[in-house]
């Protein structure tokens, strides 16, 4: 049980690609606890990826269950996650523990299906939509060295997209 230090951009380690998890051992389970503790230590934080705490393996945690009135899968610990399918597109505001004092608009898929292993190496599939899908995609991006800064869209763009859709 420990809250780990979160890396802040422009730390270039945040731009590196993480490697798949290969051993589902006690060390992994301890790391998963630390990742969750670190996420919970920041009020309002709904997800965290391993590279944000200087651990470059393909692991993310997402938990949007604290937000009222949205669909969610509860706490999701995703090891070696893969996005199997994506549908739709929505623009929403994102910020990041690793990018303090900045938020921006990002386009993400509205509905996704994600396949991932749990802490014991069992494969599971999750269907996510809206806010939860956004959180999962934001965290998986970290595993590929991508920040939301790599995906910003302007507010004018946002209005145009919205006007087209309705």
């Amino acid at each position: 049980m420990a809250v780990r230090e979160v890396l802040h951009y422009p730390d270039i380690r945040l731009k590196q690609v993480s490697v798949p998890v290969s051993s589902f051992d006690q060390a992994l389970r301890e790391f998963l606890c630390d990742l969750e503790d670190t996420m919970r230590a920041s009020p309002g934080c709904v997800g965290l990826a391993a590279p944000q705490v200087n651990y470059f393996q393909r692991i993310v945690i997402v938990d949007v269950s604290g937000k009222p009135g949205i669909a969610h899968n509860g706490r999701m610990l995703l090891v070696n996650p893969e996005v199997v399918s994506r549908e739709g597109e929505a623009v929403g505001r994102e910020g990041c523990l690793s990018v303090p004092d900045y938020t921006g608009n990002v386009a993400r898929a509205e509905r996704i299906c994600v396949r991932a292993q749990d802490g014991n190496g069992e494969w599971r599939e999750y269907r996510c939509e809206g806010y939860e899908a956004r959180a999962v995609l934001h965290e998986i991006d970290h595993l590929d060295g991508l920040l939301f800064l790599d995906r910003l869209v302007s507010k004018r763009e946002l209005f145009r997209r919205k006007a087209y859709r309705t």
């Binding site: 920041s42 309002g44 934080c45 709904v46 997800g47 965290l48 990826a49 997402v62 937000k67 929403g92 505001r93 994102e94 910020g95 990041c96 523990l97 303090p100 004092d101 900045y102 938020t103 806010y131 956004r134 959180a135 934001h138 965290e139 507010k155 004018r156 209005f159």
Partner: protein, 173 residues
């Protein structure tokens, strides 16, 4: 001691305005902060935070050659920078309709009456010369919910203006 100033620039839009000003400021050792730069109608407009040990008149002197050659009007004010303390908007108000006098006054008066703080307002006059339409997006911080703000603006719909308010939720991950 270094201090922050707000530089305001307006001029007929043409390529090279930002490059000329940024180059003059850089050569003079002036640091740049946050900025909003946009073409409005045929004009290019700049609001730019700059940091320097010099005073406002020295900044004007630094920019004078570029300003003259590009025909820019410029203004410099000493400010309190307040960097690294962004306020997150939590409500977005969207407004559009046939352009007519008073839309902005009515919408913003209603918002101000509830203490709604406008953080970002963008508006465009679109459509044609004969039938202009007005489109406005306001992001702001409100102590009241988006639903309450929308209800407040509903009477404007009877005047033929489409208005809406939606919550802005910022994901932190």
């Amino acid at each position: 001691m270094k201090r922050w100033y707000m530089l305001t620039v307006v001029g007929r839009d043409q390529p090279g305005i930002v490059a000329a000003l940024a180059d003059a400021l850089f050569r003079a050792g002036v640091n740049l902060g946050e900025a909003s730069m946009v073409r409005l109608g045929g004009s290019f407009t700049i609001m730019l935070m700059v940091e320097t040990e010099r005073d406002a008149s020295a900044i004007r002197t630094i920019l004078d050659p570029a300003g003259r050659s590009l025909g820019l009007n410029m203004h410099v004010d000493l400010i309190d920078a307040q960097l690294h303390s962004h306020v997150e908007p939590n409500v977005r108000v969207t407004v559009y309709g046939a352009d007519r006098p008073g839309i902005v006054a009515q919408v913003t008066a209603a918002l101000a009456s509830r203490g709604f703080n406008i953080l970002d307002l963008e508006s465009d006059v679109a459509g044609t010369r004969e039938q202009p339409i007005y489109v406005m997006t306001i992001d702001g911080h409100s102590a009241e919910s988006a639903t309450a703000i929308e209800k407040l603006l509903l009477p404007l719909r009877e005047k033929g203006v489409e208005v809406g308010a939606e919550p802005l939720e910022t994901l932190v991950g």
